[in-house]
């Protein structure tokens, strides 16, 4: 037997199950995207269903739903980019200023926990706290003689609820990358600044903040590449028939109209639109981040 092959075949055998997974459950569904150009009929299957060309896309771009979904996606992503994104950075800077190790450890331990809790549990806590009748917040309001608020169903509270949940769950976990960046700053810099008479604010301004600049810009650019993805599970769990006008995004629409109502062709077209735009954005912004990383670091 060929020596290279003799050495290789056990390795290929080990890779095979994983490879099979990627081919069957990742690449075959990509092939299934041809449904976007077909009128899917369950009885004729993938290949038997008739071609309809760009009909689904024509319908997609002329339907008002699509523009509402696109707007909601951008608004929710924008909320994450501008209101959520700075919080872990600020949090990391605060933690970096803590000189007592046990305080730091305690705070870190607490704020990481929610990351490991499921969205269902977070949604459960939200419901229990914000429900109109027996929710804790509304009990508090009623006690102080205020009107009860429809926090879960009134569309005007949806975005604030979305942001609050995000902050609660991911604020702590988000600090890790910035803390790692701060930990790599040479302590000699702080000592030198101290010797030169720089106080805490000046050390913060001239050492801590500049040392975060590169990673912050890179993370921001990477986030820009992900604006089509807005936490499907979270939104799905917060969604109800009353707040659809602000909470409907691509995946929730696809689930409702595709899986539940059987509009497979049309929703596949919508999924394809999202995937392709997502891919283009991701590649563009990743390249930008890489370029910036090289310039910024070296």
């Amino acid at each position: 037997m060929n020596p290279v092959w003799k050495r290789s075949w056990p390795i290929y055998l080990m890779i095979f199950p994983g490879l099979l997974f990627f081919i069957v459950f990742r690449y075959i569904p990509m092939g299934g995207l041809v449904l976007a150009f077909k009128d899917y009929d369950p009885f004729s299957g993938f290949s038997g269903s008739p071609w309809v060309g760009f009909d689904h896309f024509h319908r997609l771009f002329t339907q008002q739903d699509f523009w509402i979904i696109l707007r909601n996606t951008f608004v929710l992503s924008g909320i994450n980019l501008f209101f959520f994104f700075p919080i872990p950075i600020a949090m990391a800077i605060l933690l970096n200023e803590v000189k007592l190790p046990w305080v730091r450890k305690l705070v870190q331990t607490t704020i990481y926990i929610p990351h490991f809790v499921s969205w269902v549990v977070v949604a459960g806590i939200t419901v229990v706290l914000f429900a109109t009748q027996d929710g804790g917040i509304n009990k508090l309001l009623a006690e102080h003689g205020r009107q009860r608020m429809e926090l879960l169903t009134d569309p005007s509270y949806f975005q604030a609820l979305f942001l609050t949940q995000n902050i609660w769950k991911e604020m702590g976990w988000g600090t890790i990358i910035f803390l790692a960046s701060l930990a790599s700053v040479d302590p000699g810099l702080y000592e030198a600044a101290y010797v030169d008479g720089a106080g805490r604010w000046r050390q913060l301004w001239h050492i801590t903040l500049p040392s975060l600049r590169t990673i912050v810009v890179i993370m921001f650019i990477l986030r820009l590449g992900q604006i089509m993805d807005v936490g499907f599970e979270q939104i799905f769990l917060l969604q109800n028939s009353l707040n659809l006008s602000v909470s409907d995004v691509f995946d929730t629409y696809v689930y409702r109209n595709g899986v539940q109502h059987g509009e497979f062709g049309f929703t596949t077209a919508m999924g394809l639109f999202k995937s392709v735009v997502g891919l283009v954005l991701l590649l563009t912004f990743n390249r930008l981040a890489k370029k910036f990383g090289e310039e910024g670091v070296y």
Partner: protein, 285 residues
């Protein structure tokens, strides 16, 4: 002067941190303590954190509620089997891909990486699962999420950090690749393997949408999917009482607590492993 300034600055710093810790901890505590409330107190008294009268009625109700217990058992099965399957797929493939001399390695890596940036989406995957007759079977859940490319890559990088001499020495001693992996490489990789297993375990424990998507029979649902339904069905469809235990808002709180509990108990282990910085390093790299 300088010292006083620090006192003020530190005071503000610790105050902000205290508020943040409270922001995280209060919702948890509210749910935890309310779950020990009596129905009467919950309805009649206004907002409170600590109940006057404590009872384990809510937990008794859940323990006697066959549907809840069934879902809870389902989740244990799904988490155990799902993690084992994911771990097997991931470790073998990662080990294989860590061999620099392997032909086709670059192509295989590209194949994996591409799935991280582009996917077929919900509908084609759903129809595939349906055509494979996996709907309503736990295999739909085990297989559709068998490998997380991110964890695969972490594990591959870790295996690649072993010196090639190790492999050569093992081969000289007549040790095959499988033996090398099982007897030498894996025992040396226990912390990494545990980290990966914990990550898969958390994901499986927390998974709920796949069950809603693929399992029509709600008796097969895991606890997460059951909990969502349980909280949505505001009081309808629930038995008023099971044995001597009564249904009421504290039961909902208890259900949330019990669902989150195993993770909270595992948290010290999780923290021990992610603190080692392996995951952080890989995120950065």
């Amino acid at each position: 002067m300088g010292k006083k300034f620090n006192l003020v600055a530190d005071g503000i710093l610790y105050l902000i941190l205290l508020l943040i810790v409270l922001f995280i901890a209060l919702p948890f505590s509210y749910i935890l303590f309310s779950s020990f409330s009596t129905n009467a107190e919950y309805y009649s008294r206004g907002f409170y954190i600590l109940p006057h009268k404590w009872t384990i009625n809510a937990y008794g109700y859940l323990a006697m509620n066959e549907n809840f217990m069934q879902a809870y058992r389902n989740t244990f099965v799904l988490t155990a089997c799902g993690t084992a399957i994911s771990l097997g797929f991931t470790l073998f493939m990662a080990y294989g891909l860590s061999k620099r001399w392997l032909r086709g390695r670059r192509l295989l890596n590209m194949l994996v990486l591409f799935t991280m940036i582009f996917h077929g989406g919900m509908i084609p995957t759903y129809l595939l699962v349906s055509e494979l007759h996996l709907l309503n079977s736990y295999w739909s859940i085990y297989l559709t999420g068998a490998i997380f490319p991110f964890l695969l890559i972490i594990m591959r990088s870790f295996f690649a950090s072993f010196p090639p001499e190790l492999e050569e020495a093992a081969r000289m001693d007549g040790c095959g690749e499988l033996q090398l992996l099982l007897r030498i490489v894996l025992p040396l990789s226990i912390p990494s393997v545990v980290t990966i297993a914990l990550m898969y375990g958390v994901a499986h424990w927390n998974s709920y949408f796949q069950a809603i998507l693929y399992l029509n029979d709600s008796a097969k649902w895991p606890i997460q999917s059951f909990l969502r339904q349980f909280l949505l069905d505001s009081d309808t469809g629930m038995l008023r009482s099971v044995g001597s235990y009564e249904y009421g808002p504290p039961v909902k709180m208890a259900a949330v607590i019990v669902t989150a509990l195993p993770l909270l108990l595992c948290y010290p282990f999780l923290q021990k492993y992610f603190n080692k910085g392996m995951l952080v390093g890989s995120i950065k790299g």
